[in-house]
Symmetry: C2
Subunit: 207 residues, 2 copies
């Protein structure tokens, strides 16, 4: 299968990195399709078109695959949030960028988002500590962004911003779940309308 191993470093061939990605992609699809718990390593291997044992060559176990998927992608969300915290733009624009990242990501790679939202976020008990911390960090970050705008008078003073962050995230998340479970029908035009409504209602609610 491998071709030229060009002048990279010796330890990891370029090919090996590709293989790892291949397995991650396959795992994402399988997790989305059968769920994390009910799929077997062999499902991932055969979906990726590699031997059973190879999965263990690249990953400790199933859990580590899930963690890898989570870390890489949740990191994107966190860095957007950190970025937004530093920028001096209207609240609406911040909320729009946040909602866009999440909803657009779904449009691009629905299986990935399925795994992120359904399989990981709510596993609670088996959600390993680092995972939970990232989750919490996102919420806290959003909370402090909101608090900043509250000081500017854009948000009513009597509201708890920490709680508001949970409310907004929750609303976004269940709307997404509706799509994931095919409860809500939707095409691209609808998507923009949804984004708009979620943000409008939130902003009108806190103003």
């Amino acid at each position: 299968m491998g071709r030229k191993t060009n002048g990279n470093n010796r330890k990891k061939s370029k090919n090996s990195v590709e293989k790892k990605k291949l397995i991650i992609r396959a795992a994402t699809e399988v997790f989305a399709g059968k769920g994390f718990h009910s799929c077997r390593i062999s499902d991932i291997a055969s979906r990726a078109g590699v031997a059973y044992g190879l999965v263990y060559h690249y990953f400790e176990n199933k859990e580590e695959i899930l963690n890898t998927i989570f870390d890489k992608n949740w990191g994107l969300l966190n860095s957007l949030l950190e970025d937004l915290a530093g920028r001096d733009i209207p609240l609406r624009q911040k909320m729009t960028e946040l909602a866009s990242l999440i909803l657009d990501a779904y449009r691009m790679v629905p299986e990935l988002i399925h795994v992120m939202v359904i399989e990981i976020a709510r596993s609670s008990r088996q959600l390993s500590r680092p995972r939970l911390d990232q989750y919490v960090r996102s919420l806290e970050q959003l909370g402090s962004i909101l608090a900043h705008h509250q000081r500017q008078g854009e948000i009513r003073a009597d509201l708890d911003c920490r709680l508001l962050a949970y409310q907004f995230f929750g609303a976004l998340e269940l709307v997404l779940t509706g799509y994931l479970l095919h409860m809500l029908p939707g095409n691209d035009r609808d998507f923009e309308a949804i984004k708009k409504q979620v943000i409008d209602v939130f902003l009108a609610g806190v103003a």
Copy 2:
């Protein structure tokens, strides 16, 4: 263990009904503690203080236990929603009753709510059809309640009530999750404040 089997019907002694409840209670605690997937039947049996095999005397398998828990309690939610749909009271009062049912239930039996929210609602793939249907039905019911008030002019005409239902539920749910995962601290006083804020923001947002 058994005492008098009084003049009940012959098939099921009163005692047997109690035993079944005992197992359900134990299962709820265990599910909440270790998660549905990672707990064993033997965990439930020993928590209930009964023999392993007895669990199979009362239930087909682990899945059926979960379904039993779900059905009984989600039914309560659905009947409240149906009730609210028929009553002629202000929107605020309806939302308050709904939020109260959910949040107060948590205050009474946190482990149960933990299982309902975390373990069941988001299992999606393995969520058996009847379960999913009940879930959807609740959302639809709330959606039509909102639509009714929209016709009365209490909700802006440009909003999609179906989507609003998802937004409200989602907000409530993630706030609850915050508590369940101990991300949000809370005592009884806070609880009322939270309920108020979630409803206030929603109503202000849709008005």
